[in-house]
């Protein structure tokens, strides 16, 4: 007999919420069945804890104190006057407020030929067969707790399709805003399909207008068609009180080019997951990100990459800056099946610890079954280099400013890979703000 541990308050809240909400969440009976299956798994196993390998450094059972109720409708007037996280006139902003797509707040003018945008909730209500098919995930992904909770509670999201060969000039920015008090939960699912040879830049920002303990769970399922080029960048800017879990599922087609960047600047508890797979040969992908932590915040980056086809190249670079008693975790697993010859994968993670109590955990894993591959991984962890600091000080630069310069330089290696100038600048601006607050 297996002993069932007592339910935590967060688990109790989950178990109470789902039966009450399942039929009022958008979707036909088929959708409810998918939700039930997802929730059933979570209900059975409970929240994952440190003995569950994929959650070793982020013990959700211990860290998730509550699971707040579903968010109500957002106050549109407040969102209208809020300053955008990224100042970019070119970007097409599509707003998801409190878990619901708000076309009236979104820029739908003159959609480029080949670009279609519609609401996931509407598609779920209509029982759209293509959308239902797109909800189907690989078993390991579907069983992941953050993913399963997203499936169970998703209220809306965007279904975006880019036609074969279409070049979408304007970046598409998915703006997630939580608004209102008390704290509430949101679960949003986006389904993005980029056709053969098509190009697009997809930006996601996640933020709250109120400094309360919101829970946001944002999942993006992305299909990068053969020969397509997709640049995906996410800025997670939640308040320190918040919990934010993001999942990116990416299938990368033959000869495609894909980059994803995750900036984890906010949330008290953050988990950014990537489930990526090369599904066609001769493709390339870059996975990069920066994490900035202070106080007692915790951020986790977990990457599962399957080099599932021959002659694909991947580069992974994740950098974390950790101050006070904060803690960062990185787990990166690259699997190379036997047929994926000529794989070229290089994974690097580096952590800069700014205090005695700061902690960084890094767990790179390579599972290689092919014999003609180049795979490397590296992990570094350390304090600011005293010699570099002394050199700057010796030229009259005060310590706080010198440290800020070195921290920015450390992060810059990753940030400078961002191709979109507006997002790059917005991120640098945020980083500088963080450094200024630290130096004060």
């Amino acid at each position: 007999m297996v002993a069932t541990p007592a339910r935590t308050p967060a688990e109790l809240a989950l178990v109470a919420r789902y039966p009450a909400e399942r039929t009022s969440l958008p979707g036909t009976a088929d959708v409810i069945a998918i939700r039930d299956a997802a929730f059933g798994g979570v209900e059975k196993s409970g929240l994952p804890h440190r003995r569950v390998e994929d959650w070793k450094y982020t013990d959700l059972r211990a860290r998730l104190k509550t699971f707040p109720p579903a968010a109500g409708p957002a106050d549109v007037a407040r969102i209208l006057i809020a300053a955008p996280a990224v100042e970019d006139d070119k970007a097409r902003r599509l707003v998801i407020a409190n878990g619901r797509y708000r076309p009236e707040l979104s820029d739908l003018k003159d959609l480029e030929p080949g670009l279609s945008v519609f609401s996931l909730a509407t598609a779920l209500e209509a029982g759209d067969t293509l959308v239902l098919a797109a909800l189907k995930l690989d078993d390991a992904v579907a069983a992941n707790t953050a993913v399963a909770l997203n499936t169970a509670f998703m209220t809306d999201g965007l279904v975006i399709a880019v036609a074969d060969g279409a070049e979408i000039q304007r970046p598409v920015e998915l703006v997630h805003i939580a608004e209102g008090e008390p704290a509430a939960s949101t679960a949003v699912r986006h389904l993005v399909t980029v056709g053969k040879g098509a190009r697009m830049t997809l930006i996601e920002t996640i933020e709250s207008l109120d400094t309360v303990a919101h829970h946001s769970n944002v999942m993006t399922v992305l299909e990068v068609g053969d020969g397509a080029k997709v640049d995906h960048i996410r800025l997670q800017l939640e308040p320190d009180e918040a919990v934010c879990m993001t999942s990116l599922v990416a299938k990368i087609g033959r000869e495609a080019s894909f980059d994803t960047f995750n900036a984890a600047l906010g949330a008290g508890l953050a988990r950014a997951q990537i489930f990526a797979e090369f599904t066609g040969r001769d493709a390339r992908a870059g996975f990069r990100g920066v994490t900035m932590l202070n106080g007692r915040r915790h951020a986790d980056t977990t990457l599962f990459l399957v080099h599932g086809a021959e002659n694909c190249q991947s580069r992974e670079l994740y950098k974390a800056v950790i101050d006070d008693e904060a803690r960062s975790a990185f787990a990166g697993r690259i699997a190379v099946p036997a047929h994926a010859q000529k794989t070229d994968a290089r994974m690097m993670t580096a952590s800069l610890l700014l205090s005695e109590e700061a902690e960084a955990d890094a767990k790179p894993e390579l599972e290689i079954f092919a014999d003609d591959v180049q795979c490397g991984h590296g992990a570094t962890c350390g304090a600011i280099d005293d010699d570099l600091l002394f050199y700057l000080l010796s030229r009259g630069i005060p310590k706080a400013e010198a440290e800020s310069m070195l921290i920015l330089a450390f992060l810059g290696e990753a940030i400078d890979e961002i191709q979109n100038q507006a997002v790059h600048d917005a991120l640098i601006h945020r980083v500088e703000g963080w450094l200024k607050a630290r130096a004060a």
């Binding site: 002394f390 700057l392 000080l393 009259g396 630069i397 005060p398 310590k399 070195l406 450390f410």
Partner: protein
């Protein structure tokens, strides 16, 4: 200008400076020569404020003010400049950003306004040109990808920009070919003035052909064991340090 009085310093259990005294007056150029391990680089690091060393006795005054309790950046804005033997590479920090931060820190300490970008550019370009520092070098991160000679020229450029009152040159000749040595020396000589002094630390006499010192000291085993005029350097070049090492050991 610079007064070092009976300075004792150690790193761990090892005493490196054992009662070093030196007085440098405005306008003077002092050379400190000595064998390997005499404490030359330790002296330069201690003056600049590196905290790897423990000062057990003595004091250092800059323009009458004790500097041993000052942080390295406070010493810099107080007018002390160390040209490093091995200028460090700082990937990710643009040279111009670095120079601007340094210059503005000095200006701020003097109660002056920060330079505007055009003023700053003009100033740097002027100084860089005189030291054969190309705009390509200025575009790179601090010292990254610089040759040994380029690094030393970059040090002198920083010195020229910051206009210190006392300049410590730590083995500035090491790693330089004869042409680079000339450029660096000319850069230093251009900065000589009645209200600025130099302490030139070197192992070899050849630098002193180009930067002619007023006073030459021999540093051995943590102390100044002999002081003389420029002819002392020539004597050392001919006869080596053996006599001084033996003296110190005795």
């Amino acid at each position: 200008m610079l007064e070092i009085k009976n300075l004792h310093a150690r790193i761990g259990d090892r005493e490196i400076l054992k009662g070093l005294s030196l007085t440098v007056k405005p306008g003077e150029v002092h050379a400190i020569m000595g064998p390997n391990g005499a404490g030359k680089s330790t002296l330069s690091y201690i003056l600049a404020g590196k905290d790897d060393y423990e000062i057990t006795e003595g004091e250092v005054l800059l323009n009458g003010q004790s500097i041993l309790d000052l942080t390295p950046n406070e010493r810099s804005v107080a007018g002390l400049f160390l040209a490093f033997q091995y200028p460090i590479e700082i990937p990710g920090v643009a040279t111009m950003t670095f120079l601007k931060a340094a210059l503005n820190s000095h200006r701020k300490a003097k109660g002056q306004d920060e330079l505007t970008t055009p003023e700053f550019m003009k100033l740097v370009k002027g100084v860089a040109e005189r030291l054969n520092i190309t705009s390509d070098m200025l575009k790179r991160p601090v010292n990254v990808g610089f040759s040994g000679g380029e690094k030393k020229r970059a040090e002198i450029m920083q010195m020229a920009l910051l206009q210190p009152s006392i300049c410590i040159l730590d083995e500035t000749d090491s790693g330089l070919d004869i042409d680079a040595l000339k450029v660096v020396s000319e850069g230093v000589n251009a900065l000589r003035s009645p209200d600025r002094a130099f302490v030139v630390i070197t192992h070899y006499q050849r630098l002193l052909d180009h930067i002619v010192p007023d006073i030459v000291h021999v540093l051995s085993d943590g102390r100044i064991v002999r002081t003389g005029g420029p002819e002392l350097a020539l004597d050392l070049e001919k006869n080596g340090y053996a006599a001084y090492v033996a003296d110190a050991a005795a």
